[in-house]
Amino acid sequence: MKKKVMIRNMGKTLGVLAVATVLALLMDFLKVGNESVIMVFLLGVLFTAVLTSSRGWAIFVAVLSVMLFNFFFTIPLYTFLVYKPSDFTLLVFYLVTAIVAGTITSRLQSEIELSERNEHTAVTLYKVSSAFLAESDEQGIISSGEKLLAENTGLKAKVFLGNPELKAEEGTVLYDIGSTSGRIGRVLVSGGRPDELQDLIIRAVCSQMGTALEREKLVTEREEIRLAMEKERQRSMLLRSIGHDLRSPLTALSGAGSLLSDNYDRLTDAERQKLAKDVSEESVWLTDLVENIMNMTRINESHLLLNKEYEVIDDVVAEAVKHTERLFQGRSIQVDLPDEVLAAEMDGKLIAQVIVNLLENAARHAPADSSIRIQVRKENQSIAVSVMDSGTGVPNEIRGRLFQKYVTQDTGIADGRKGLGLGLAICRAIVEAHGGTISYDDNVPKGSVFTFTIPMEDNA
């Protein structure tokens, strides 16, 4: 590196000297006086000082030009001797002037260069520090860091997060990415040993990257905490509402049970049978509730684990109908299935649960003599399943929030049992996890239609 500069400066110097000499000879030929000719050499010294920014070279030119002047222009010509005292003084003054001027110029020049370089460095550092502000994820920070390094140092850089085993091979240098909690990664720079400036930039990039990564980590952590808190809040809400809903059937169960065991002899056969039947029915209801709660916790945890298999929709609908038939004592469920066998990747149990929830809703909200219909059809590349009833429909107030958690219709339930208000929220979560949609419409002339879709695999 140094050698190259030296050779380049040497070239510049000799060039300047040659030009100056030729010019001087030309002027001499035109009979211009020695005092003027020597100015050409002075100019040469200044040029050298500017071009090389080095005091040494300027002095070197000054000395050499004295000798050249002596050789070419002072009498006796073409010797290194001086006869005339005026020539001698000229030479001495020239030398002093040239050295002083050269020194000052070269210093000025190198200061200009330094300040230019400083300015460039400052700009680069500013770029480095602002580059990471816009990045909002780890990968973005890493790639923009690598890009910055490549652009501003011309060296190849590769970022490794964590604490990998890395060795600096021939021609590569390792830098640490630090943060307040110690080293969080390393940068492997290859393509040559970085000079002072490159080193400065690399260090700056590393430290900015460390800060950015740490900030990113903090943001992620805060977001996680927020999510965890939200989850916790939902969980406690769920627990509260479960506790509330479990209490009444449990009271009924334990009441009927203790009545049976304590007063068995005093009860009539019919009473005993009625109590036993109550126990059995109540526990079925509890079972369903538990099933929904289990699904809900599955949904809350880890974004719903789907157990997808290729299922024919007939099977799933039949399963749901089988499960809910007891709710519709006397009422029939009419099922319209298309002739074509429709099948899709789905979690059969969960989709059945969706239909069960919709059917239970219908059973709860539609009058005893109304009919319930399930319609399955192919819609675009999806299976669309509609559950229709001819009940009262959904009141306007809760339509917008229908598929949210804990939304219930407060009025019109004879036995005061409200349900968790989880049914439709579960439906939505399940359907959306399958990439489908769920929607509500009014039935004609009255009642409601809940429709959900499940995308079929595109076999084309």
Binding site: V317, V321, A343, I374
Partner: protein, 231 residues
């Protein structure tokens, strides 16, 4: 009623084993209760029960391991009792030689039906060949003429469909996993669970009057199919 066999119930929940005990005893069975896997295995080897009800969630050992051990020494029917949503475990248990399963919570009637099916399958392996005509509800299968009819009217089934129907009827009341059906009908490695599902849906369309309320081919979602048992 007196000549009913001995049933071993391996179940750690006292309430469940209690009501199973009462109902089975009422039906005339002799009932043994094991609360742990070790106790169950001890009772199994010493009393050689005619049928086992095995809960998969035991405190001391995985029910699947117990199933394996029992299958090593005996061919007695084993019914698995498991919680909902454990389809993989059910399939696993069936593949390991369990005869059937029942999902908690269950009705006693359901359990009795499964027990009867398991008993019948057991007798049949030793008993005489079936009649030449199978009749259930509006479905009639004439084995000699290879004729399937609904309400007396012949329906056309492909040879594969016919064979599948026979397989289902032969195992009626018992759940058959998708894999079992594939292996029996298409041969090992011959089909996938996608095609067997579509195939069954089509078969059902031919022999069921109302496919949403199937009378014959019942789906056990996530596990397989069961041919309805008339008894």
């Amino acid at each position: 009623m007196s000549e009913k066999g001995c049933i071993l119930v391996i179940e750690d929940d006292k309430y469940i084993s209690h009501f199973i005990d009462i109902s089975l005893t009422k039906e005339g069975y002799k009932v043994l209760i094991g609360e742990t896997a070790d106790e169950g295995m001890f009772l199994f080897t010493s009393y050689k029960p005619d049928l086992v009800l095995l809960d998969l969630g035991l405190p001391d050992k995985d029910g699947i391991l117990l199933l394996r051990e029992m299958r090593k020494v005996s061919e007695a029917p084993i019914l698995i009792v498991s919680a909902r949503g454990q389809e993989k475990e059910k399939i696993n248990a069936l593949d390991l030689g369990a005869n059937d399963y029942i999902t908690k919570p269950f009705h006693m009637g359901e359990l009795m039906a499964r027990i009867r099916v398991a008993e019948r399958m057991q007798e049949k392996t030793a008993g005489p060949a079936e009649n030449s005509v199978f009749r259930q509800d509006y479905l009639e299968v004439d084995y000699e003429k290879h004729r399937v009819s609904i309400d007396g009217e012949e329906v056309h089934l492909t040879p594969t469909e016919y064979r599948t129907l026979l397989l289902l009827i032969a195992n009626r009341g018992k759940v058959l996993t998708h894999q079992f059906i594939i292996d029996k009908i298409w041969g090992v490695g011959g089909g996938d669970s996608k095609s067997v599902r579509v195939f069954m849906a089509n078969l059902r369309r031919k022999i069921e009057k109302d496919t949403a309320h199937p009378r014959f081919i019942l789906t056990e979602v996530g596990v397989g199919y069961r041919f309805a048992d008339s008894e």
